[in-house]
Amino acid sequence: MKTFALAGNPNCGKTTLFNALTGATAHVGNWPGVTVDKREGVYKGNGYSVSIVDLPGIYSLSPYTPEEVISRNYVLEEHPDGIINIVDATNLERNLYLTTQLLEMDVPVIIALNMMDEVEKAGDKVDAKAIEKALGVPVVEISALKGKGIKTLMDRANAMNEDRKGETVLKDALKAQLETACTFYKGEDVKSPLFHAVKLLENDEIELKRKGAEEVLKEVAAGEDLEAVIADERYKYISANLSAAKVKANKEALTKSDKIDRVLTHRIWAIPIFAAILFAIFHLTFSEDFLYIGAIANAAGTPLPTLDGLGLSDTVGGMFLGLIYDGVIFSPGVILTNLLSLITDNITLGVSMLIEVCGGAAWVDSLVCDAILGGIFAVLGFLPQILFLFLGFSILEDTGYMARIAFVLDRVFRRFGLSGRAFMPMIMGFGCSLPATVNTRTLADEKERTATIRVIPFFSCGAKLPILTAMAGGILAVFNVGNVDAITFGMYVAGVLIAIAAVLLMRNTTLKGETPPFIMELPAYHWPRFKNLMLHLWDKTKHFVKKAFTIIFASTVIIWILQSFSWNWQFLLQDAQELFESDPETWAALEEVEGLVNVRSDLSILGSIGMLIQPLFTPLGFGSQLNSLGWVFAAAAITGLVAKENVIATFGALAAVVAVSMGTGGYIDWEAETGAVDAATAMIAGTGITIPAIISFIIFNMTTIPCFAACATAKAELPKGKFRWTLLFWVATSYAVSCMFYTVGSWWWTLFIWLAVIAAVVTLIVLRNTGKFDITKIFKRKKKTGK
């Protein structure tokens, strides 16, 4: 089967064409060595099938971003049978710049002239025949969105002659220089010598690594600035030969896009509008009081009735009404979550009954329903809200607004040594770190990328939200202080502040470097396209779904084993009835308990690991100062390393041991034994932890090593050797910051110690960066005297 590669600028409709070509056959892998998505699929034509590989969107083949390097290497090393070069007909000049480079490779090229319908709509004309004649390769008009011209494109691509020698538009301007360079590369016996030769003349850093190349360049360039000449010649050629192909109609002074842009990037309104849009997305996704109708009704003195008030709480109708309403109207994101949990709860119930009917042992029920289904459903439970969040961000991206946000915010981000583009992955981090980390690929600068990837976990993701709400709920229940919303929001803000501080620190020490350049296309605004949105959405959520069924699945089973067995493999779960029947009082208090309970998890493997490392957390407030049950926090933090959802899930499981050791059901409403807030309440009451220590626990979980899946993604996306340091960075940051929150919260005067430490660190860094104090010099001197 022949293989064709799709290449083109970003925003030229490449993904749309890829999907139109491959339909359901597409699958996503990774490029060797890096986690840049490698999309592949099969196109079935009349009597032939070809494999299609989607290269990342690029402007040029110079090694500026990882994407450009990947595309270049793919064509040079994997030898596809042809390149389908998608060209946005509405932006012909810049798109053809890449084309002139692709044509220099020894590979057949066909040009797909996309968005012809939009050109015609604007009253302009592009003559495909004229381009075909000028460039000497087939040119086919298509509309990827409407599926027009695709068959012709593929038929002509399939019929292309397989031997094509690279040609360059520079042959007249740089004849002698190219000949010398070509001779050198032919001597080196490489494929596409012309391409390499041109790149060498462009002063390309990859080419210069070849032995002898630098001398050749010196010889032919003779001090001339060939780089500028080449770029200039390419564009000159394009405008000379192709301006005839494009006829522009007289344009009205201000297009629709311009008018929208005037408002959205307005000098005063740009930032408030952006804040409002962002708030609206989060409100639609997370709010349990949609449009604040409930709060408004309360303020007006006529609160809306709750389900209880309507007498519907135990009816079937009430169950369904409860999905969308309970005294307040839920936001769409919350409604979907409720619906999903209703479904998953019933599946768990059904499976549990099935196991009982089939005569399965109680431990099977515990493993399947509590551990496996419970774990998977806990993760899937976030899916509706993640979908909503991504939908919002996809709309912003697809309409072209995201690029404007980067434009508007660049000035702010530059202060921290980043570019406006770093904003997108960071804000995505509030949804899930995985796609956010992958999104950092749009950052060209390696140090900026590394810094961004490292702080993404501090933008508290969807899975960390339950930790925040459960612990905040627990604080409210036990100490009767605080406000769940305020604590949760405060923690989000704290995460962002920590991220800013961390970026500043890194950009001034280990990741020091020039603020990366910000040279970016601002695509024209257009309405989001439904098909594109759905594709984006699927692209971004599939990581999450995959995670639910792989890592979480495995980890919940492992954690269940660690929790349910002692070191000598004694099974710790006990039948509730057998356990408590002899104690009528407790049994009465626990009347709802059925099946197995674990009241001995302090004997479990997990429990003993928790106890072992518990002292480490003493400076953070949830270590040795707690009573004999304090290890539950350490244990929960460990399970959180696998997936943050586990922190609260572990609480649920460990709450039983706390409750029992306290004598009765105590603080736990057994009817809702999995209720996260109840579990957190039991833990807080049972261990005697203080409020500063709880806050410290939340901060620790928020800023420490993220889940396995996020670590795996970070490892793949970070430059070689940086991952170890990143792990260390996460541990150190979370430890230091949590300690600070705990000590300052417990003893206010320690604030001054922390301020002094921070001031000292800042002074040292400033002195070092201004060259007045050189740490490395001191070390060097020591080494010398040591000798």
């Binding site: 932006n91 434009f407 350049p517 695509p523």
Partner: protein, 76 residues
């Protein structure tokens, strides 16, 4: 009159005569079509004064003033 792009006011246009700057930035500017001979118009400044937006070769490009300072433009 020759002026640096970074000193442009909104609405001014001209023809690029020279692109200077450090290797990678210059490379990127070339790749995005900022080459000698190209005509450009300054469209607007971001709300905080920087970066700027220009129209060039039929599309919109944004770059910072630092990078714009690498571009010398002959004003028509």
């Amino acid at each position: 009159m020759v002026k640096l792009l970074s000193e442009f006011t909104v609405g001014e246009s001209g023809k690029i005569i020279k692109v200077t700057g450090e290797g990678k930035i210059r490379r990127r500017l070339f790749d995005m079509g900022v080459t000698p001979g190209a005509e450009l118009t300054m469209r607007k400044k971001a709300p905080l004064g920087d970066p700027i937006e220009i129209t060039l070769r039929g599309y919109e490009l944004t770059l910072r003033k630092v990078e714009a300072a690498c571009v010398e433009v002959e004003i028509k």
